[in-house]
Symmetry: C3
């Protein structure tokens, strides 16, 4: 009888969901998710709609579960020991905990948007798909573009603002702005903003070196989602012109249907293709489109090869003097004073090269949140995170628990290697340590940057040494000279000697 | 036994929900929704609370279902044929697909807020009630005001900024700004911003013509919801004064209760009423309130009959030279340089009059999203929409599918007639075509307008012809002369001859 | 058999949830919630994860229920009587209705974040935890700090901007800004902005008086949540340094582990502690840190004891002339013209001292929403609220009902006493009445303040008297002289004689 059978389906579904509640990590290949969806697919009496509804429920349920696990996982950490961290981690056995670190993203968190034999575009998943704790930066996306020498990225535009950083290779980027064409020959260290909706194509004019570009995207229509539109193309990439009806295209182009089908049917090499040496050469010097009215208020057309001179041109991070530099590392920074184009996005960009065996002094940003992309080397970062914040989700619950007690902090740690992304929220103390084998090179996009201040917590100019002596005594409950002895001992600034070098022996003995 | 019976209720409820999963479109008169709520109302053992909770669940469930249907519907479209559109559509048989078009709104999507024998106020549903894809513009609402000649709209204020456009009739709009009264005699083509919270009343001083005004609203308290507050009135409209307790009103007005009840009890004609010829005449020329301090920074009081001169006065779109004009149509545009009041809302307004049988060249906005309201005529629009974007909802799922493939685009099409609203997201290529019978007249509100650039895709100045010859060859995979022949053939600009006129015969033969 | 048993659990859970649907108000001690969670805890066959998932469901369910009750409760109110308010309320029997007032917050709505024998920090729950109607201000939080004389609040920073108002006591607040230390001796009436992430510590230098400070917070990372980070401390408060691994700390401080453990192990007095008279004296005059580059754009270092002179210093509300003043009360206001620091937060601050037995004239804000904190005295407020708006939640449903009828307004009323917080949304007419025993003192934070205008609805300069005579006649449907007689009778302005004094007898007789 109808109702009865339906009832069974519901019940089965739910019981399956509970039955599969074992520890799991959310992938399409996730066995429980598979099982759950399998159940949906094979329920007798389900029509297509019900099946899809059912599978949707599986997705949602498993996803929520994963989040809750993460949170419980984090709560699990820390706890009784003197230090709010898990000794195991330091031994590199912290993988499981690492999976639950909402501030760390690794290879499997990237989606490959484009892949041809000439190159690849990868975009990191939405931050909020990892954790609600990241909803503060949900309207930014980060990704990378890697292509072979002499490659060509087909003309396209995004419904998103894009800021890119060239780490490797020598791209020439051509944008159509208003009724002008504008080309820029970029090199290592160049930052370029491509305004939302700007038609653009890219070549890697280098004869030998791969192109490696990191992109930060800020969607302009949907908060956390952007699309790519290909002006040219045929079968692959598909040109958006093909979406229009033939009648409309014929009228728009005053051209017969078969001609249009020929034009929009040829291209099959994908959106990243090989270009000939001649084509590369021809496109490797800045060119100008026909003259015309300039719609970008305040922007004059950029001069060829211009770097920081033109407002719409690139800015080279490495041609500026480093803001921090010693044998332990160098820091290059650019804000909207250096590159006007960053102002509208309220963005600051910094590049840190941490010498192997060195570290950055623990510090925090007053209001900016850092999206860091590891370009090269290995190491790890440690961040102090208010324990309950890590729960995310139910703020309500948190606060009830928090009653009358000061917050406690958890050690959030992540291993860093090329391609790793990590997030440092405003106010959170953090440090990054380079392995003893290689320099650790990181590009950081700091959002909400206006009036941001970096506060060092160790080394010269550390915050604590600025307190009044009475404040130090009261804060630590010890004689002021003890506070000063410790906080004044480290005479380095920003980049310091790392743990590995200093007390190798000592260090491992303690564990 | 308690639990058992309760259990049955739950089960019944769920099974009903599943039972009703047939195709449906969400209206109060929706049979399944009715049935579901009926079940709630007549469950034995349900107390009031449980019933309401139950009905709420019906609403939510059906609504979610509708959305999912939309998405599946859209996925269904397109597919294998050369063009990403459904030939049927062009034959006008695309109604079903049209219901699932998240960018198109028709009569049934409007709510009638006010209706009296003298006029009507209609507001479009929340954009996000139609589709999550529109959450980028969720904090805007659009609607219309239509009244008879010699009508009076009672004094009121909104908790929303309002920009209105006069298409028909001759309204006089009186606002109280600070301690001043300010009246403006408006005519066809006038744009006026009524700042949030400004007390305002309106007459149509025309002796014969109806008043037809289109309104864009930007709520200031709740993101996507606004309320109307009537200073005057009695039974209908009800004055907000009636919400206060008699004791408070007596003190506030130093007046006895019975007098107050008399004052706030008379009006019963509704908020849009008939005014006498004398009253209309008296109110038909700009008047000034008593002098006083001006609280609006930078604004001086406007002079009577002022148009663009005064910052707070109106601006007439038709008194500006059209930015595009040929025998196929005319385009009038106003941005914050023309009308300062648009700056704070980051708004641009344009009016397009497309000659019958003509069309607009396919083009896209770099960052602005267009909310278009059809004022007169018929026709249709076509838009290229990245196929997967149409799914909305689960970005996560999308990306998994999208792996390693370039996006494909879907033809989003909608029939246009007076009162239709359609949305064109930033970056999306679009074209509008007028029927061969009437001119198509459309008023467009473009939000996120600062630095927006319109990129033409066909006709003079089309983007593709700006690419370098090598880029054209690589992008299309054909000799450059073929690309140029097609993209240079159309010598029209912005407004072009439409499909109907051009190749009538050819066109229908293809289908 | 597995599935069967699981099934029972689900069913039990749901039936419990329904079974507990009686009227309740959401507290941890809420009996139904307890019962629901109890069920979860003691379900045989539930593993830890399932139990927690289950309890989470209890939380969510009960919370949703509470909201729906609130809404139904409000719908219940008002209705048929001439006035849209419940006579009982005025008799003070409106407690139940008051619990459902989404614009009113009382003691139980505060969370105690910190409590030591020296003082207490309380933060109001998230506005959206009370009602979705408040999502317009969800990214603000409000709270208070109360400490004994000669107390010390340990050095800390928030990931939130903070604006504080000193109502009682004489705090000295020391901030580290960039590489400077900056101290300000504050007194009653001082407003100070502490920028997000600024390390700060506070003393109450007064020998006898308690410190009472009201804080408005604007989180910079998560929209509606902020965390506190303690630079100093040991066991309690815990220093965030303890989150780092010993190896990292040893390197950062060039210091042995045991020394660090000593430093970060001593403090156990909690984050608000007693300071000695000597320590207080030493910290009671502004000091300066070592000189250095100033990173706050446009800000010069503040001079000691500076009030409004320095951009980063405080501003005293009471040293400005009151904007309104008569025997019924005084109003002090500060906006970004008075105190530059308010500009970035788009904030205005006002302090109202309503004489006992007096009231504020009904009025509304054009675009600002008011967050009001009662500092002293008793009384009540009345607000006119569009009836359907009060439903919040399903806007969709609202609009269907609203069809063709003008809105009706509900009387929203709340009793005010020290510590009560109430919200006045933009556009909503409101009045506050002081009891006949004490002055009512209220500090108001008005967000979205730029270009805001206050419109009086009674007394001098009331909006209605500015309408044209024809508009008055049409709006009220009575001869204009009747309108004028009532709206011109009250010659007071802003602060008026209250109901209690005026027509005591009359008043109670009417009920």
């Amino acid at each position: 009888m109808e109702l009865k059978s339906k009832l069974c389906l519901v019940v089965l579904l739910f019981s399956v969901l509970l039955a599969v509640s074992a520890s799991l990590d959310y992938k399409e290949r996730d066995p429980e998710l598979k099982q759950c969806k399998h159940q949906c697919k094979h329920q007798r009496g389900y029509d297509e709609q019900e099946k899809q509804l059912c599978e949707q429920r599986c997705d949602d349920y498993i996803k929520q579960k994963r989040q809750e696990e993460k949170q419980r996982g984090r709560e699990g950490g820390g706890g009784t020991s003197f230090y709010r961290y898990d000794e195991d981690q330091y031994q590199g056995q912290g993988q499981q905990q690492q999976d639950q670190n909402p501030y760390l993203f690794e290879d499997q968190d990237f989606e490959t948007q484009i892949e041809t034999d000439q190159g690849r575009v990868q975009i990191l998943q939405k931050f909020t798909d990892k954790s609600d704790l990241l909803r503060g930066i949900e309207n930014f996306r980060i990704g990378s573009l890697v292509t072979k020498p002499h490659s060509f990225v087909a003309p396209h535009h995004h419904d998103a603002d894009c800021v890119l950083f060239v780490f490797q290779g020598r791209p020439t980027i051509t944008m159509v702005r208003g009724e002008k064409r504008e080309s820029h020959n970029l090199e290592r260290g160049d930052i370029l903003r491509v305004p939302a909706g700007t038609p653009v194509y890219i070549i890697n004019r280098d004869d030998n070196e791969k192109l490696f570009v990191v992109k930060l995207l800020h969607p302009v229509f949907l908060p956390d989602q952007f699309e790519t539109f290909y002006e040219g193309g045929g079968e692959n990439p598909e040109s958006f012109f093909k979406a229009f009806s033939p009648q409309v295209l014929q009228a728009a182009f005053k051209t017969e249907r078969d001609e249009l089908e020929r034009l929009f049917g040829q291209q099959r090499q994908g959106s990243i293709m090989k270009a000939s040496r001649e084509q590369i050469e021809k496109m490797s010097h800045s060119t100008r489109g026909r003259e015309g009215f300039w719609p970008f208020h305040g922007d004059e057309p950029s001069t060829p090869f211009s770097t920081s001179s033109s407002k719409s041109g690139p800015f080279n991070l490495f041609k500026k003097r480093p803001s921090q530099s010693n044998r332990h590392g160098r820091l290059f920074e650019a804000d909207s004073n250096d590159y006007k184009q960053l102002e509208e996005l309220d963005l600051q960009i910094s590049f840190a090269n941490i010498t192997r065996g060195s570290m950055t002094a623990p510090s925090f940003n007053s209001k900016a949140t850092k999206i860091a992309f590891v370009l090269d080397g290995e190491g790890f970062f440690e961040m102090a995170c208010p324990h309950l914040a890590s729960q995310g989700g139910s703020q309500h619950q948190q606060q009830r628990q928090r009653r009358s007690s000061s917050p406690s902090y958890q050690n959030v740690r992540g291993d860093l290697r090329r391609g790793t992304v990590f997030i440092v929220p405003a106010g959170h103390p953090v440090t990054a340590i380079a392995s003893s084998n290689n320099n650790l090179q990181v590009i950081c996009f700091e959002v909400n940057a206006k009036d941001n201040v970096r506060f060092p917590l160790a080394g010269k100019k550390n915050v604590v040494s600025l307190f009044e002596r009475e404040a130090k005594e009261l804060a630590f409950g010890v004689p002021v000279r003890e506070v000063d002895r410790i906080f004044n001992k480290q005479d380095g600034e920003f980049f310091l000697e790392g743990p590995n070098n200093q007390q190798q022996g000592r260090m491992w003995s303690v564990v």
